[in-house]
Symmetry: C2
């Protein structure tokens, strides 16, 4: 038969979250009555705003009428949605015609791989959201996995750890075509300051790199001085694109809606436009986000929807505070959780899969082992602040009981 | 700056339908009051079933409640939907766990490229749905464009024309890893018989090829003896996967829902499972179709939804009959339109872009130039049967007036 794609063969084990799910199910087989609480995958738990639900429902009902029906839309999204994204989230800093609506940031990350192809060299924060690396492996932009280093060859890993305040040591980072950068960071919860992002933009300019900035958690930033978009940095439009999503702020993880901003100023070496190629990819291997769901996105960005979105964010950030402070009381050093819905807990000298298993077995609480995000994450475990309050409180109680032993 | 992906640079002009849209808009600039009727892109025009709209609306309203809310689902779709697809459309011939739900067939075609990668050799029908070729070019599985032959190097084009009854001459088709095959065919409207598909499966078996069978138009087949799925052919599970969609039968072109069937029996040369790698791709660069929209898919497949879906199909097939017979009355040789919503009209000796422009300028009717589907399509123009009845009748009147001149 046809040969297996050699790049897929390079991947190690399964994608992180299905693997965690497998281990959770293994526990449930042993202990069918275990009441497992998940602080693992960053999956929203609170209902979407009623105003948004109604907008989606109205759009659906409209689709059964001649007047309300629509077929294929622009592959890049409804104009109204693109405009509302620039107004609500970018202060008009970018043009609506630079916003390309999609079915989610993860999916756009996949298409970005197709855009840049196998010849693009890449740098990633370590630890990082697994899709940057796994996607790059699949497209063939990396070398083989090195079991010794627990990472892939031909990727410039940029360690982000307490010692460097979770910001890469750019002076020792090689030049690459692409730099993946996520702030607020998944998994560490760290945010980059304006000065740090200025440094990053200058670094990209010097190296002629393109920054792929992931702002999926930007709305969780509480500190007014922390940039919510790379485009708050002068000159960023010439070196950066930005991937973002409705998933976490609006509870759209299952609803599926996101966007990518590609500034007109962003060019390839030959002077051709990155946006033009992105549009070509979007029209060739994508067909637009659902028209019904886009109406929900528009409603999210209207005042009536947005006020509830902000309530939800405050709710999750209160969860984050509770988890962070509980772990601190237990004497665990934690990071994040103040401008991001993730708490990055340090277990010095321990293997994160062991800590994960231990917490799962003894507390019936699912976390995420830091090693799943990269070798530098190995002594850490990520706790997600997405959960019903009573579950979060119960999980905290169990952790206290176990870790005080 | 970073270098442009050399594979994207190989693409010729824009993706077909945006290019057609550009030409339509150019006419509108010249003649702002032109009442243009589109029989171009295969875009559904009739409302979705009310029963389906209500199911989507209910799911949306439920998402604003604690009980009805759900976050990330299985990246492969809801079990109920996967089961209903096998029952309603495959007579249980395939397992629900071999059905992978997605946001549409075009998007799955893109992910298929990522699955098989740049080293897979491919064969396509000529003419064909542009995404097979453009997607393969983008992933790097083809050579450069040959202006002389009007096609890409390293693709085995399988001419499908009246002379061979629109079925490839397999005896003269080289061995490739992948064979793209679409029946009912877009754009020719031809369907492959059971015997022809048996020949295709035997050919794939002999060559150890994988058939990527596109059945997006299967529900339009009227002839009870024509297979609606490659899996009606014995042994197909070992050599084929099937891409399909709710778009055309259920009016979901803008709603976005499709699926791909990957049988467990389908293996790579090393014995590893294609389904396992497909799942890995789906979990890494995709995040599942919208949970709200999947409820609409389920409703489509229930009796109350399906009866309206069948009405819509009959409606479009009546359009097809009207267009086909009108063109025939004008002495134009046409194909398709009896088991597919496309009519493939022959204009011997003419360039299809010229015919397209001529019909657009003089009748204000948008068709699709056959050359947009491949070099073999050059003397043909495709008419789509998707349209409101009055528009179809008006377009026919204009064509009659023009072509009788």
């Amino acid at each position: 038969m046809a040969t297996r794609n050699k790049n897929i063969a390079k991947l190690q084990a399964g994608y992180l979250f299905p693997e965690i799910n497998r281990r959770k199910n293994a526990l449930l087989e042993k202990e069918p009555n275990a009441n497992i609480i998940s602080l693992g995958i960053g999956d929203t738990t609170e209902p979407i705003p009623e105003f948004v639900a109604k907008a989606i429902a109205d759009a659906a009902i409209g689709m059964a009428t001649l007047d309300g029906y629509s077929g294929y839309g622009s592959g890049l999204g409804m104009t109204e949605l693109r405009e509302k994204i620039t107004e609500r989230l970018y202060n008009g800093r970018i043009g609506a015609d630079e916003v390309c609506v999609s079915d989610g940031a993860k999916c756009d990350c996949g298409r970005l791989q197709v855009l840049f192809g196998a010849d693009a060299t890449i740098a990633v924060q370590d630890p990082a959201y697994p899709v940057y690396v796994d996607g790059s492996v699949i497209i063939g932009a990396t070398g083989e996995y090195s079991a010794e280093n627990k990472n892939f060859k031909n990727i410039a890993y940029m360690p982000c750890k307490p010692e460097n305040n979770f910001f890469p040591d750019l002076a020792n980072t090689p030049k690459t075509d692409l730099i993946y950068f996520c702030s607020p960071n998944n998994p560490t919860g760290a945010t980059a300051s304006k000065e740090q992002l200025e440094e990053l933009v200058a670094f990209a300019k010097k190296n002629k790199s393109i920054i792929i900035f992931d702002s999926a958690y930007a709305t969780f930033i509480q500190d007014p001085n922390t940039p919510k978009s790379i485009f708050e940095i002068e000159g960023a439009k010439e070196v950066a694109m930005e991937v973002s999503s409705f998933s976490k702020p609006a509870g759209f993880t299952g609803v599926r809606l996101g966007w990518t901003v590609v500034p007109k100023e962003l060019k390839f070496e030959d002077g051709s436009s990155v946006l033009t190629d992105w549009k070509r990819i979007m029209s060739t291997v994508f067909n637009g986000a659902s028209n019904i769901i886009q109406k929900g996105g528009i409603a999210c960005l209207e005042d009536e929807g947005w006020s509830v979105v902000e309530e939800r964010i405050s709710f999750y950030m209160e969860n984050a505070r509770l988890i962070r402070e509980a772990l601190q009381e237990l004497g665990i050093t934690v990071y994040g959780g103040d401008n991001a819905p993730y708490i990055w807990a340090h277990f010095p000298g321990k293997n994160s899969w062991d800590v994960f298993e231990d917490i799962l077995e003894s507390c019936h609480v699912v976390s995420t082992p830091g090693a799943g995000f990269g070798a530098t994450g190995n002594e850490f475990v990520r706790f997600s602040a997405f959960g019903h309050r009573d579950n979060v409180l119960e999980a905290i109680e169990r952790l206290k009981k176990k870790l005080q032993e």
